[in-house]
Point group: C2
Chain length 619, copies 2
């Protein structure tokens, strides 16, 4: 189906196909013992093809452009010797054991973002597999892999990936990824893959020699913008959309997280993202699987996840950074960088009510009005989190939340995310309060690039020079320092936090009002001066009330309802979660109003037992 690259069918037959309109001549050079040169034939539209027999899987090859330059295949499926080396022919067949796997509906997603290289000591897909049972036990339903496309060296977040079809060799290559996905599906976990369609990494990038993959009409922060709407943009789109279809079809990936789609600069009337949504959804239908596209976007553009019939792009769910910033702003009072725009309690309330905090308001940080309303966007189309790779790793020192706030705050953040009506996402290690940083690291081979990255990082944090230099991204120690310490989670507070996360996720799944992701069935009360947030969620005759106190001090609150009897489900201060112990009543028999006294930085969950005959709401 995906016909770009070296497409191995069977019986040592391989079809090679490359888009190279800038070359007048393209040859296949088979590298190694059976060294040979074969001419590709132009088949129109800038494409070149050849079918070769006696090519066994594992064969290494390069394309020779215009008789002189030998380059890896832009659609290489494997780069066993790195970004500058030859490409390898891969047999796509695999002994899949997931024939009955149908994917998961978005509403059941509980996402765990992980970076393969730092998740374990060995940093491979196989090493990830060893943790799947534990993640499942925690309640996770989906793991999200940071990008795995081949990048320079062996240490990279993944956003410098340059061969979008080639699975990073140091992680275990394509076979390793298939084994991991297969293992996930076997125990009922879905897999999201983070893919980067807004740019290609700088090192090992020979694409411009093949064709106009890039345009100079727009700029991105990371290098030349991809050509989505200019002359010869159709094959560029084809290339990237085939990439999406490749992950879904050949690797059984369940969803794609689309990196920074605000940097997909495209003024065409049928945008790349619409085409991607249409083709991926059509393919999912054919495969009879639930497949989702989940953009990350800084644009606060609800059009992304609105349906095609309403003029939207038809993507399925998007990251809501505003939720994170509003929560973090209220919890930490941080004001540097983009946090300048956050910190007001009413912003957190709006994040729960609507999704986007900035829906047209003026942003000081952006120096313009920002966003449009997401009021009509269903809760299950928004992904929320208190940490992720960016929010941790883009700090100068890459501190995770435990380095910045108290233990009670960690539990508060966990509750705020998991008890929300949105899709929750955890960043690896968050579940037990991993103290290691997640820092920015690379392992480029190009000295100029290494210097540029170092300087870029230094300039970015020039305002924090009084705190010292940022860690050297190229230094292996920066990478090693960022690895998880899984052994911590078995003891003490780490273990209590882990259990707390597990209990919250369990409640989210078990209690119907929490499992039902609906803004309509979630009433939000914000008490600005007390800094208390009340989420009242219901499903049929069941009701759950979660009361969050973001105040550092103990606060008394007159409950905004009466005539009901409530039973305590959980309090973050319970001793069981290494808290000071909760004084909150196990039962609330609210004949009229009742005043609750909430410890600072804590939350409590009550479940409605029954309604008194005199029940009535007041606000």
């Amino acid at each position: 189906m995906i016909e770009l690259g070296g497409y191995y069918s069977a019986n040592n037959r391989c079809q090679f196909r490359v888009w190279a309109p800038r070359a007048s001549r393209v040859e296949l050079r088979v590298v190694g013992a059976k060294e040979q040169i074969r001419a590709l034939e132009s088949s129109g539209g800038g494409y070149f093809d050849v079918q070769v027999d006696n090519i066994s899987p594992g064969t290494l090859y390069l394309y020779r452009l215009d008789g002189s330059r030998d380059r890896p295949d832009p659609a290489s499926r494997f780069q066993p010797q790195g970004v500058h080396g030859p490409s390898q022919v891969i047999d796509p067949s695999f002994a899949w054991a997931d024939r009955n796997w149908l994917g998961l509906p978005l509403k059941d997603y509980v996402v765990y973002e992980l970076h393969v290289g730092t998740f374990t000591v060995t940093g491979t897909f196989d090493a990830v597999s060893a943790h799947l049972e534990e993640l499942k036990d925690l309640g996770i339903t989906v793991i999200e892999l940071m990008p795995v496309a081949q990048f320079p060296g062996s240490r990279n977040w993944g956003y410098d990936g340059v061969y979008p079809f080639a699975v990073q060799e140091s992680y275990g290559g394509p076979l390793g990824l298939k084994r991991l996905v297969n293992a996930c599906h076997e125990i009922g976990l879905a897999v999201i893959l983070d893919v980067v369609y807004n740019h290609l990494g700088p090192e090992g990038n020979y694409f411009a020699e093949f064709g106009p993959y890039f345009t100079d009409r727009y700029k991105t922060p990371w290098g030349p913008a991809m050509n989505f709407d200019g002359p010869d943009s159709d094959p560029v789109r084809r290339y990237l959309i085939d990439n999406a279809l490749y992950w879904i079809s050949e690797f059984h990936i369940d969803a794609l997280r689309l990196d920074a789609v605000h940097a997909i600069l495209d003024h065409s009337p049928y945008t790349f993202l619409e085409q991607l949504a249409d083709e991926v959804h059509a393919q999912a239908k054919l495969l009879n699987r639930q497949v989702w596209l989940i953009p990350e976007s800084a644009a606060n553009d609800s059009r992304l996840v609105r349906g095609r019939e309403l003029g939207g792009y038809g993507l399925d769910a998007q990251w809501n950074d505003d939720f994170h910033h509003a929560l973090r702003g209220v919890m930490t009072g941080e004001k540097s960088g983009y946090y300048e725009d956050y910190g007001e309690f009413h912003q957190l309330v709006k994040a729960y009510r609507e999704g986007f905090v900035y829906s047209g308001e003026y942003s000081k940080y952006r120096r313009r009005r920002h966003g449009i309303s997401s009021r009509d966007i269903p809760a299950e189309r928004l992904v929320v989190f208190s940490q992720n790779h960016d929010q941790v790793g883009n700090r100068m020192l890459g501190e995770r939340l435990p380095q910045l706030v108290s233990f009670e705050d960690l539990k508060l953040a966990a509750g705020a995310v998991i008890l929300s009506p949105f899709i929750p996402m955890l960043f690896m290690g968050e579940e037990y309060g991993e103290p290691a940083p997640f820092q920015y690291f690379v392992s480029h081979g190009d000295a100029n690039l290494i210097a540029a990255v170092r300087n870029g990082r230094r300039n970015e944090f020039a305002a924090f020079a009084w705190r010292g230099e940022p860690p050297d991204p190229q230094d292996e120690k920066t990478f090693l320092r960022s690895k998880l310490n899984h052994n911590l989670k078995h003891d003490g507070r780490f273990h209590a936090l882990w259990e707390f996360y597990r209990e919250l996720i369990r409640l989210r799944k078990k209690l119907a009002p929490l499992a039902c992701l609906s803004k309509e069935k979630c009433e939000i009360h914000g008490f600005e001066s007390e800094r208390i947030l009340v989420l009242r969620r219901w499903f049929k005759d069941q009701e759950i009330i979660s009361i969050f106190n973001f105040n550092a001090a103990q606060v008394s609150l007159d409950l905004p309802f009466s005539g009901e009897c409530w039973r305590k489900v959980l309090a973050s201060t319970d001793e069981r979660w290494a808290g000071a112990g909760s004084q909150l009543p196990p039962m609330l028999d609210v004949v009229r109003a009742v005043t609750l006294s909430l410890p600072g930085r804590s939350f409590v969950v009550y479940r409605k037992e029954f309604e008194n005959s005199s029940a009535q709401m007041f606000s």
Copy 2:
């Protein structure tokens, strides 16, 4: 209401307001006998204000930036000494005589595009007024003025306008324009003004000294792109939207033609065009007038004119260049430049059926797939034409259609446009077959710019060098050569053509099936091999059939319906229209089928008299 610029209220009181975030100090310098300097005060957001008494209308002024540079007001209402000179305070009051004017519905628009400088010998608004009765007599309901914002010198198409609020002084300035609009409304004509929001002209452009009006994140073919979505873009949008509101409110303009909106580069979730549509329509409601926004766009993006509730931008109607190109391609067989993509008969059929010819098909000229479907766009939201300033003037020699095709072809083109279910537009002089060219002309003051424009023009037509050099744009003779010769229209074939246009417009208004702009009530039959197009339009029990023969030879056609009796309304070959005389039967009594013999390059219109009892359609 519009508060930018020198806003004269009454009693010699004037409020000055300018957005100049790049200046740390702004002063008002009154120029002339009462020379004085007044400091403006910063009022936040980069705005500076001052209210001054004893300023009479006519006062000349400049802004002094940072105590050194004297510049015209970016929101100048008048530049009596040109783009480099001082701005003038204008009294906005005017003795309007159009109090009962409500505007016209789009479906009644019959548009006449004109360029003020070349429409008459004197080239002023007042000189245009002298022709209004004649245009009304022709059947025109709306005149469309090419841009009138102050440009360098006295000769320009208008797209080099640099002060969007200042009416070109050589045309008669703001008072002249108001007199013209008033005169139009008095006799029932509406006025469309062409406005340019995608760039500002190069000469006399001091805007970057005031603030970040421009961005370097995008490029346009005509210079720096306007800043619609970057930091500090809110005031840039405010400035341009206030410009739209200014024309509508202060000049009583009925509609704005938005120049080349595909070059309004904007990735924000609430685009400039949506904001413009929202604010202009709200203002129209307040004014209780019908006001329309009519973009020109090369993008074939139906989202522009789709309603906001369906995710569209909510603009009202758009130019459909595809109709022109398809018609021209079929008529002339031209294949150079963008005509490479046209010339197929089925494309013309599609233009009538759907609107856009390119709705996702591959365009050779653009080297990519182009456009999305306009099938759901109502006919009254598409403007069609067989000539316009661009299609004439962007040819090397600026030839109008009469220099390229036969007299019979001119009538065929007229019928194809006016009998279509879309909004028809004529380009000045088209109605009598003006033989003068409409060439590209400028009158810049900057020697480098003059040379650049000359070279640009020469390079553009390098492929036609065998035909000689393009006319020198800066040469006044190029401008003079482009003026209309109105006296021609009273005699001979010119007159016959004029009368023919008048008759077609009269029929379009009088015959209900032609007046009803509906794709649903218009059945299109295309006969590919005969090159015959049949438009069957109906309204209630009335029916009109127009049969166009684009074949150079006489062609016989079996009419695709029977059981009806038809009366001839008009044939383009009738002697009355200086034709060879029509052999077509005055009555068609179609018991079964009937074969009609149509002269080459002609059309005929029949009107249904009654239906036989055995009536039935077959296709």
